[in-house]
Amino acid sequence: MSEAKARRSDLRYRIGLNLRAVKGRSYPRIVGANREPSWIFFEAFLPLLGIAAYVFVYQFFGGQALAAITTKTTAAPWGMCGHDPCANAAAQAAAAAAVGANTNALVASVVLGGTMVAFWLNVLWSMASQLYWEKEIGNLQLYMMAPMNRMALLGGMAVGGMVMTSMRAISTLVAGVLVFGVIFQVASPLMLLAVFFATLIALYGLGMMFASLYLLWGREAWNLSALMEEPIFFSSGFYFPLGGLLRIPGWGPAIAIAGSFIPASLGLDALRQLTLGSTAFGSNFWIFDVTTELEILVGMAVLFLILARYCLAYLETLAKREGKLTSRHQ
């Protein structure tokens, strides 16, 4: 066999091997994880409760604003339009419509955010922590001995996680739409899909990178995961448009910028623009336009995947050099 032919044959073998490895490792998440019907309760229904809390708060404020508009007094015969009395019936109707639209936009933002929470939790607990967990249950040594590329292993985990979580997220989304009567207006479905997939790839790329780092840091990783739950929910704007923080003087912009390093933040911002219209909230609450956010997300996806590869290579080097996969006092 000629050298070129042998190289091609070897390349074909390696591609086949790694694709099979991706398929194999995604299988437990795609097929295995759906064997327990309890996920419908725990992962589709329970998240609705968290979403409901925010929805009720927003609906309450919407109701209060609407009451102010529709309540007629001698000083404001057509109700209040903000701080001033409405000029006429048409202004009153327009203000009431704006309140209705903003309330729907806020509720829709929460439902979308609640859906994204599923992905973030999956990235934290089933991607970032997974290699450490595999080490604890004894699978890691078997993975390390197999001839596949380690990125194929992480890729399989990511693909499986995306598919599994998408099913849960869609269930939550559909339930949210049905229960809370949210209205979405998708003007550009292709752009929506592009943003969604770019967000997922960037998010799971981050998870793949964390997987090696978590294994390296050992037990401290669990604290890190816990630390990255509620603070990230807030700084990434899972339950409100993140751009709102930019309007808060002082700490608001700092938190919004810090939160934007998590791909879910910009992804969610772009998804909200694409499903609610960029004019929602008077165009005041968005961070960047959709195209810019998509470009940043693609950049993040590439960067995180490269860093994930680098971290994994470092881990392997450490294992070969020192015979261990952890650092410091682990």
Partner: protein
Amino acid sequence: MVSGGETSGYGLLTARENIWMFSQFYGVPSKVSKGRIDELMHIFGLWDKRNAKVRMLSTGQRQKMNMIRGFVTDPDILFLDEPTLGLDVNAARVIREYVTNWVRGQKGKTVLLTTHYMAEADQMCDRIAIIDKGKILACDTPENLKRMIRTETTFRLEVDAIRDLTTFSTMQGVKNFSHKDDIAKNRSFLTFILEDEGPVAEILSTITLQGKKVHSLQKSEPTLEDVFISMVGRGFE
């Protein structure tokens, strides 16, 4: 690599799916892999449990599953780390027999077995390395290892009652000879201490030439555990 007592894989998958998953990491085509899994499940007696979730399997069944995982990729080199640890007699025997036949029945196959069971090592291995505190103290065939500490060989025979015993004492290669008679059973029990196994044939022909029947023949020789103790200076702890 297969380790004794390990809980590899995922509890939500069935035994068959779990093994298939690992085969994918070695690039085995699904069709080939599933065929091998079914065949090995029949051999290891796990066919009935093929669709049982891994978390529902007993320790022995899980270990059989792990063994199948090791063989399904048809490796050239297989690492077995205490493969029969904590298994019942039957399960351990099935595993030992399969491994022995697999490695001896094919060319180019190697099994690197680590075990504390000396009888297992003696039965399964062509070469044995005795390791203590990370150092290889000896590496040779079981026979040669035992020969290293063997100074004499003892044979015990149970034969029909025999009267003429003088020839045994003077036979070349016999270092020591003793006998005991059981008149009620009409049997003689002979014990020979030999320099090596050379005189055994002559002893047997002498007995049969006298028209006596040999009922049993036992050879007592050092075990691998004796070799280990002799080299390490202590038994297994």
